[in-house]
């Protein structure tokens, strides 16, 4: 993989870091303002433009996806981040159950930007967040708090042909920690009897990770690699005839290991030291 081309009018050298701090701050402000503005105009209008609840939600989700793409474009143009995506066409089928690891704050931005219509499972706390509550509500995202009802709702969504996005960690990875996947994704996949569509996200140098203050930008532009993988089948876990909770534990363990390997490999390929060796 070659080094990403630098954004055109971004200064280099010492000014670069200052610029990216400014760019990051500006991005946060735009995100917050955008979320509130759209949340009181475009999104409610789209939602209420039809009596059909699902059609209204689909319209908002498409609008949110466009907003995410625009926002990512802003961050890339400012030189705050750069991204490369592999296998995006694999996300386009109906009823995709997408699971991804979660190193940074903008993982959702990137993935929702790649999927025009997707139901996201979102942590309950976001409904109380001043900025995020608007897209989360109007786009009809699903709260992770509902327990048994959550599994049923997700199975129904997948059966309906709708795609689902889950971050099994439930929160951003703590840097240096190994992946800690919750069992929800496995429970849904087993209940719905669908394969998992894995998306591996790596970021080097890493930014906007858990505990990272927004102004502590890395030494150079944070580069993201997003790889959409082949489906991970669950048939073998169903075939073992284990109680569902045990099958979910085994599948979660397998999924965690899959991502540990995939992310390590991807990160290794991204790093300049590796590239120098040719």
């Amino acid at each position: 993989m070659s080094e990403p081309a630098p954004a055109r009018f971004v200064p280099s050298g010492a000014a670069n870091r200052l610029w990216r701090i400014f760019g990051t701050g500006l991005s946060f402000v735009c995100f917050g303002l955008g979320a509130v503005l759209l949340g009181f105009t475009v999104w409610p209008l789209l939602r209420l433009s039809t009596l059909d609840r699902r059609r209204g939600i689909a319209r908002v989700q498409r609008a949110v996806s466009v907003s995410m793409r625009l926002f990512l474009w802003l961050m890339e143009t400012l030189g705050v981040v750069s991204t490369e995506v592999h296998g995006r066409e694999k996300l386009h089928g109906r009823g995709q159950f997408v699971v991804a690891n979660h190193p940074t704050l903008i993982d959702v931005v990137i993935l929702v930007g790649l999927m025009p219509e997707v139901d996201c499972i979102v942590k309950q706390a976001l409904w109380r967040n001043v900025f995020l509550r608007w897209p989360v509500y109007w786009a009809g995202y699903i709260s992770n708090a509902t327990g048994e009802g959550l599994i049923a709702a997700c199975v129904a969504a997948l059966r309906d042909g709708r795609s689902l996005l889950v971050f099994p960690e439930g929160t951003r990875t703590r840097p240096g920690d190994s992946l800690d996947f919750q069992r929800g994704a496995a429970q849904i996949a087993l209940a719905a009897r669908v394969p998992l569509r894995p998306v591996t996200i790596t970021c080097d140098p890493i930014t906007l990770f858990k505990g990272n203050a927004w102004f502590r930008v890395p030494a150079r532009t944070a580069h993201f690699v997003i790889t959409v993988g082949e489906p991970i089948p669950v048939a073998e876990f169903l075939a073992r005839g284990e109680p569902p909770s045990l099958a979910a534990r085994h599948l979660t363990k397998a999924l965690t290991e899959w991502f540990e390997v995939s992310a390590a490999q991807q990160l290794h390929e991204m790093r300049p030291e590796t590239q120098l060796k040719g």
């Binding site: 327990g147 048994e148 599994i151 069992r183 109680p243 569902p244 909770s245 045990l246 979910a248 534990r249």
Partner: protein, 87 residues
């Protein structure tokens, strides 16, 4: 009539069978969710298994206040002490 010790030993076995929880981790003070990672979905499977073992109807509310293994043992003990309830 089972004693609480017997119930505790039985519960330990069940937790291992259903969730592969190490028997050494199962103590009376062990918190089901925080220590043993038993979530709400697991609880459904657990209650089903307890129904089979005790031969009693179990209402999920009877377990609503159960937080630790000790609470669970007491709840099960109370259950098997009573005559089978009408509802």
């Amino acid at each position: 009539m089972q004693s609480t010790q017997e119930i505790f030993d039985q519960l330990r076995k069940v937790l291992h069978e259903l969730f592969e929880i190490e028997p050494s981790q199962v103590t009376l003070e062990a918190h089901l969710y925080n220590d043993l990672e038993i979530d709400s979905i697991d609880t459904i499977d657990l209650i089903l298994r307890l129904k089979e073992l005790t031969g009693r109807k179990i209402q999920p509310d009877q377990f609503r206040h159960v937080r630790t293994v000790g609470d669970a043992v007491n709840a099960i003990h109370a259950l098997v002490q009573n005559k089978p309830a009408a509802a």
